[in-house]
């Protein structure tokens, strides 16, 4: 079922959800109004589209941390217990979807309101790394997926640049030597964590930016200048 959603034995609505998830994970820039119209025709309303994107964001983010830091494999029982704990925690802490569900960032892009707040904070707060380095890591990873970020934002020095590129494109290929190279260049573990956090955020947030631009941006109201409509070339 996971190999090919087009032939998976699922309902048309679930198939549409899988189509969206695949697009957001692999080619977010290809999401357009015509695709959204087809997904709506399959029964996905705005809430369903945004909730599927939420799950996609969550796992695109966590997958990159897992691969970068080499999370140990969990057995079936541990997975069950973790899922139960997360479900309980989410029922207590997740809360309702804010209204409106989106906010416009200083860069003009629409994102889920909570993500906009969290992203702005993560890229500007005091930390082990300079905020400019975190912004550069976020921007470089986001540009891999064709997001709108200025070239100035994307000024990430080596070896961090190569690391973040790998994190965004093929995190599963990260090996011990990649982390060792960062340490040899003077990054301590907290700094490597922050670099990874920012890169994973950038690689994951592009899907949300694209979906929200199509759903709520000017293009949704008939204009052609949706936020992010003129993307920077993927680096």
């Amino acid at each position: 079922m996971l190999a090919d959603w087009t032939t998976a034995p699922v309902t048309p609505r679930q198939r549409a959800g899988l189509r969206l998830v695949e697009l957001l994970t692999t080619r977010p820039r290809e999401l357009d109004a015509a695709t959204i119209a087809e997904l709506r025709a399959a029964g996905l309303d705005d809430a369903a589209l945004e909730d599927a994107a939420n799950v996609t964001f969550h796992f695109n983010f966590i997958n990159r941390l897992a691969d970068a830091f080499d999370f140990p494999r969990l057995d079936a029982d541990q997975r069950r217990r973790l899922a139960r704990m997360l479900d309980r925690a989410s029922r207590v802490a997740a809360g309702a979807r804010p209204q409106p569900s989106y906010a416009r960032g200083e860069d003009g892009l629409l994102r889920p309101a909570e993500v906009e707040l969290g992203r702005a904070h993560a890229l500007s707060c005091a930390g082990g790394t300079a905020p400019a380095l975190r912004r550069a890591a976020e921007a470089h990873a986001a540009r891999v997926f064709g997001a709108t970020r200025s070239a100035e934002e994307d000024a990430l020095p080596e070896p961090a640049r190569g690391y973040v590129e790998k994190l965004a494109r093929w995190a599963y290929r990260i090996i011990d030597e990649d982390i060792d190279a960062l340490k040899a260049a003077g990054y301590d573990e907290e700094q490597i964590f922050e670099l990874t956090f920012a890169g994973a955020l950038g690689a994951s947030v592009v899907a949300l930016e694209r979906l929200f631009a199509v759903l709520h941006g000017p293009a949704a109201r008939g204009s052609s200048d949706a936020p992010g409509a003129t993307s920077a070339a993927p680096s």
Partner: protein
């Protein structure tokens, strides 16, 4: 793990307490929990709430099973075992 997510970081005392309780209750410390609490100052509560809502079955448009299917599909696309 490639960095010391359990022993390092800047967890305040209350998060260390949460980690202790979680380890007692689960028998292990889940790596995603270790990661999102490693540098708590990076992650505003709003972002944490958004991330948690992605795995919540409360008031979501998708059933728990459907959300798990999407999650597994994303991990498969990313060639990630997690």
């Amino acid at each position: 793990m490639r960095i010391d997510l359990e022993g390092g970081g800047r967890r305040p005392w209350y998060l260390k307490l949460v980690m202790f309780v979680a380890k007692r209750a689960l028998g292990f410390l889940p790596p995603p929990i270790l990661a999102v609490t490693y540098r708590p100052a990076l992650m505003r509560p709003e972002l944490r709430r958004y991330v948690l809502r992605g795995v919540s079955s409360r008031g979501a448009s998708w059933s728990k099973g459907e959300a798990e299917l999407f999650a597994a599909f994303v991990s498969n696309l990313n060639t990630c075992h997690f």
